[in-house]
Amino acid sequence: MSGWYITVKDLLVLTRDKQALVLLLVLPLVLISVIGISTGQFLTRDDNVERVKIVVVDQNEGSVSLSFVAGLRQMPEFLITSVSSMDAAFDALRSGEASLILLIGPKFQELVDEIRMRDIFDMTDGLPVTGLASLDLTVKTRSNSGAIGNLMEAGMFSQVIKFIVPIAARKNPVARNWLRSREDADATDGISKGLPSVPNLRAKGNLVSQWVVPGFTVMFAYFLISIMARSFMVERDQGTMQRLLTAPVGTLPLLIGKTFPFYLTSALQCSLLFLCGILLFGMPWGSQPAYLIPVILCTSASAASLGLVLSTMVHTDQQISSYGTTLILVLSALSGCFLPRELCPKMMKQISLFTPHGWSLKAFDAVLNHQQIDPKQIATYCGMLLVFTAVCFTAGWWRFHHASEN
């Protein structure tokens, strides 16, 4: 019961500490909104941010090139803008309005006409062996785009191949007959209809649900460790800890009482952030959102117990700021809160499993982004979080007991 009195008292104190409330509840919402705006998924709902912006300079202007560009325009993954000169195209690239320039050279149609089925079948010896240049096509990306630039160029090449295959096929009797047998054998229609669409990220779960909301929710959940450590420090500095330690309250109820308010606050914070993601970003919450509850509760438990360990280690504001911030940032970075886990190297993914953050992120990913949720998998992730909680709480209890005895 004593622990509960301490919890109620700390919740009261916390609700009257506007600075802590702002840090715990308002700041995460602001930050997540800013990230939402910067990725074009909040307020503006700008779907174009997810499309590859391409500036086309068509020096051929033949029926084939027009058809090719028209086909590209119909693809949801691309945002096509046509300009008349290379200067204008480079301006667009430099200003960031375009990610890629596609220059269709004057010989494009002529070279496309020369394409035969054998060129398609023998990519190592046929006409397109030199890639886009073999069709008088040039792709320019920003000099600093690196691997992404290469990826965009390869993507464009695959689109070109998809475009020329039906054209080449029409020149082959067997293939032509087969094409005729289809209702939509028309080459022009085939350009668009024949082009398989890249899987739509939004349909599966967008950037917000895959990374922004879970990543920052987990990071902010652990932000409370600093607030918690400060609460312990204030109790020590103002002498109220002496009162608590001389009161007829055992160490365990005392620590549970001190930890529980932050656990509740963390759970509230996580829930608010997810609510914000759902309401403001239209984030899908998975096929069985009820599984979010245990994940949120276990994440908050591990955060609060980590906070307890930190609380017993630091004694000054400077220590809280330095140790707390370092711990938060390092663990967040290790676990993949700052960028989608898919982009993390394998070794980092393995390292992340030594952090509670890593298990939280895996659990959120399993709930939000998987159509079929495996309860055993969620139970494993939550179990790991509870193991972290138990280890950290025991360490915190031991340190607190040891410190108060000396």
Partner: protein
């Protein structure tokens, strides 16, 4: 949950090793209304030691406190007062030695024994985000006070510490004095028989100080005891019956204030008319003033202090106007000494302009025992 305040049992079986308490107690040490026999030892510290690494903060501290007694715990900074108090309240585990509360060994584990102690830390140990009533209620609940008891006890304590009118204001909006009173009130909530006060009147105005002193007196009148650590010597002299003076982690004095002060020298200042000329007569005066040829008279002129034995009368400054004598009270009564000195001066034809006496006090005793060397 308990529904009332637990009172200390009047009869108890002592865990204390027999004989040790008797050796430490100082029955003559407290001049009070009650007889020594009616009192019981509420706190007993036996050979307390505390070391932090190689630094021995408290070397060997032993003392006891009886019910109805206020014990002043004095010492220069770093003497080990706070560590000793923390060991009594078991906020710090002693490296050696034992603490007995109400005759039972106390190691901080027994939650019931913790109810015996009320602590007033040097800091404002209050939650500034809560009101006075919020603070009192919270700590009252921790001590297991039931709802009815809690309400009535809150009212009593608020009245005792003069905060009834501001009970619902946030403590953060209080003045320093009000915070001190609330700090005190929290310790009183569960009616502990043992109060440990660490500088409870630090930075408060005379009104608040007077109120807090009354609270201390009430505590002892009700049979409790108080350990009072302070650097306010005047305050300690007023409120405490006995003092323990610590220096460098050791007890250097443990007795009643009355007895300790009996051994302290007092000053007698005589302002005389120098115009009549006092020349060699000063030598005779010295012997009269001190009652002993071995103790010198000190002549004070402005900031200069000259020992008569080493002064050539011809070099005495013309503006000499004060003759100060150190008088050992235990050698001779101060009143008699003054009378004798005045008679002698009259015989010498020296006119006395005024007389000042400086009684022995705790501060003088403290400096005499601990020295004037600055402490870190």
């Amino acid at each position: 949950m308990a529904t009332g305040i637990k009172s200390i049992p009047m009869q108890f079986q002592s865990d204390r090793p027999s004989g040790e308490g008797r050796r430490l107690s100082s029955p003559e040490g407290f001049a009070t209304r009650n007889s020594v026999e009616s009192r019981k030892t509420l706190v007993e510290a036996l050979h307390l030691r505390k070391s932090y690494g190689s630094h021995l903060a408290v070397k060997d501290v032993s003392f006891s406190i009886q019910s109805g007694e206020v014990l002043g715990l004095l010492g220069p900074n770093g003497a080990g007062k706070s560590t000793t108090m923390f060991m009594l309240a078991r906020l710090v585990a002693p490296t050696g030695g034992e603490v007995f509360l109400n005759g039972h060994k106390y190691d901080g584990r027994s939650l019931d024994q913790r109810r015996l102690i009320g602590i007033v830390p040097q800091e404002y140990a209050i939650y500034e985000e809560l009101s006075a009533i919020g603070n009192l209620t919270f700590f009252g609940k921790l001590y297991g006070l039931g709802r009815k008891t809690l309400k009535s006890r809150c009212e009593e304590v608020l009245d005792e510490v003069g905060l009834t009118g501001s009970a619902h204001r946030l403590a953060g909006q209080y003045s320093g004095g009000m915070k001190r009173r609330l700090n005190f009130g929290i310790a009183l909530m569960h009616k502990p028989p043992i109060l440990i006060l660490d500088e409870p009147t630090l930075g408060v105005d005379p009104q608040s100080r007077s109120l807090l002193m009354d609270c201390v007196r009430r505590q002892t009148a009700e049979g409790g005891c108080v350990i009072y650590a302070s650097h306010h010597m005047e305050e300690v002299q007023t409120i405490c019956q006995r003092v323990v003076i610590l220096d460098q982690g050791q007890v250097i004095a443990n007795d009643s204030i009355h007895r300790l002060l009996a051994g302290v020298v007092a000053d007698l200042f005589l302002y005389v008319d120098r115009s009549a000329g006092i020349g060699n007569e000063l030598g005779d005066l010295a012997r009269v003033g001190t009652g002993s040829n071995e103790e010198p008279v000190v002549i004070v002129s402005g900031d200069k202090k000259l020992t008569l034995d080493h002064v050539d009368n011809s070099t005495l400054p013309n503006d000499l106007e004060i003759i100060a004598t150190d008088i050992a009270p235990e050698a001779l009564d101060l009143g008699w000494r003054l009378e004798a000195t005045l008679c002698k001066l009259k015989k010498l034809g020296i006119q006395v302009l005024s007389v000042e006496t400086q009684q022995s006090n705790l501060e003088r005793l403290f400096l005499q025992l601990t020295g004037k060397r600055l402490r870190d």
